[in-house]
Symmetry: C2
Subunit: 343 residues, 2 copies
């Protein structure tokens, strides 16, 4: 018996079988041509191509996924879709994946480990061919175990293993350079707004700060370190607190640009001018750091590049090649929020 089961619409969905009929070959041959799985005689190939064009056939990825086990989709775990930093990375991933025929599946984990696990489960249930985890919270262990099933590219940590590749930015060096820049401008009382201690990169940046002070024989003053949480408001509050504490300082290094923005506003509210009264240094080089008033000096972190590299590495992993990508080194961007200390 012939059970007719059309979709809700009677739109003409062209199937591989129809192409086969049209061109007078078997479905397998069509499939082989589509995937380059085997050599096919030139003339058959021609007629199949013609049929494909004529019918406007587009392979169904869903069916492909079921049959072949490849969905041509890559799961991307990000922490926040609308973060100014991750946004650029996502764009990089999309740009790199698209020409290869892969589609990214973005999900946000909201810096929450439990939610990250849920996201990954969901992505694996959807049978993604690979997983890119942007600055995840999971343990290295779980990541390694996941990599046994599906190729994984992670950022923000050092990690190696089969089917696993890590891309790490040198946050320590970035923190060092930022601090060194201020020191070279003559600053010695440099406040530091730390990032969320949950972020390993925040801690690295802090270490860079401490290390640069040491290298310049400037005693580390814990009272000049105020906690932040990577958001604008925390930067603002941090400076408020710093000012209230009566600690003397001539420069501030915020562990990321967003906090630097908040810091700038707090300084403004207290009638302190940047950079005349206080030099301000950020970290990340967000798109709009260029358009602050005054434009923010910062450490350039190549978010877009990071995305492209992560995706490219994933493609290599998928092709059973060893990824070789290397993160660009941190680059100091001296703009107008920092200046030589007036004596």
């Amino acid at each position: 018996m012939k059970t007719k089961r059309l979709g809700k619409d009677s739109s003409q969905v062209v199937t591989l079988d129809m192409v086969a009929k049209e061109s007078g070959v078997s479905p397998s041959t069509v499939s082989r041509i589509l995937n380059g799985t085997a050599t096919v005689s030139e003339d058959k190939k021609k007629s199949v191509d013609a049929a494909i064009a004529k019918l406007g056939f587009v392979p169904n990825p869903v069916a492909r996924g079921l049959a072949g086990g490849r969905t041509l989709s890559i799961g991307v775990v990000t922490q926040a879709l609308d973060s100014p930093f991750y946004g650029a990375a996502l764009r990089g991933i999309e740009d790199e994946l698209d020409p290869a025929g892969y589609s990214p599946l973005f999900v946000s984990a909201h810096w929450n480990q439990a939610s990250e696990v849920r996201c990954i489960d969901m992505l694996r249930a959807r049978r993604v061919d690979g997983l890119i985890v942007l600055n995840g919270r999971m343990s290295d262990q779980s990541l390694k175990s996941i990599a046994k099933t599906v190729p994984v590219v992670v950022t923000g940590r050092q990690l190696k293993g089969p089917g696993l590749f890590a891309l790490n930015f040198d946050n320590f060096n970035g923190g060092f350079q930022a601090t060194q820049h201020l020191i070279q401008l003559g600053h010695r009382r440099i406040a530091f707004i730390s990032g969320d201690p949950e972020h390993p990169d925040a801690n690295e940046r802090f270490k860079g700060y401490v290390s640069a002070l040491e290298a310049a024989h400037i005693p580390f003053n814990p009272n000049l370190v105020v906690p932040g949480e990577y958001h604008e408001i925390s930067g603002l509050l941090a400076v408020d607190r710093l000012l209230a504490s009566q600690q003397q300082f001539t420069a501030i290094f915020a562990a990321n640009d967003q906090m630097a923005f908040g810091a700038a506003l707090s300084l403004h509210r207290h009638s302190l001018r940047i950079p005349d009264d206080v030099s301000l240094m950020g970290f990340d080089d967000l798109a709009n750091s260029l358009y602050c008033v005054p434009p923010l000096s910062t450490i350039h972190q190549p978010a877009y590049e990071l995305g492209r590299l992560a995706a490219a590495s994933m493609l290599q992993l998928l092709a059973e090649q060893k990824p070789t990508a290397l993160m660009p080194a941190p680059v100091l961007i001296a703009r107008e929020s920092t200046r030589r200390l007036r004596v």
Copy 2:
């Protein structure tokens, strides 16, 4: 013959069939329980639930998509993944879709009609259950035709039809309010940085500007209108040009916040203070407009809400209900970049 075809890994993928065996019922019954397709006796349901829990079974969305025609995924066409404005909308979409079990599939069309068509084709090939198009460039006609096949929610235009729902923000009113605000502060020479004329909303904002001037009996001066393209740099360039033109003005209304940022930098470079020398008004209320120096007066456009409403409407469309969502009205946010004109 038994063709053994495991995936690349031998990971224990639990299938619906296995659940059926484990609980001693037919696969159909398991399916029915999973989908609530039909009433199932209480005891069978119990044992199936137990089996599901025991085996840790998770239905395979790919197979579901093939068999049932529903992929539980919604295609979302955005113009730029990393736009500060769209980012919030995407988050809203994700937040709304997630509890319903749907996953968004984000693609960027880069404000390009051809690329938008490609994106939509790709999404339909992937058999998304619905399509959300954020400020698309396609013709109303094509959109309507697509809506015959798959439910569509669009933003940024007025449009109705079967399986089609539109969500539109009152840009005209926003432009009117912004201008009116400046007028009420005593400004009469108000420059306008227009947006990309390709964006219909940009034109609406401009009309609002003109209309507010008219309402206040202020003659419209075309020399005070400078073209922009919605990006920071174009705002900066626009003010440069304005200043060079020697036109007198005491306030600037930029058609979006990003251009206002650029404008602010240009003013700063020309040693003009905001709001003491020039009042500056934006449009959108981006997340970081609050952290400009000084904080930017602007028109609040509820991007996150927009995303939620679009997704909620899609869910309604999917449930064969008529969406009823209404966009919130524009709200003026007076911060510190605008002030009363000194006489």
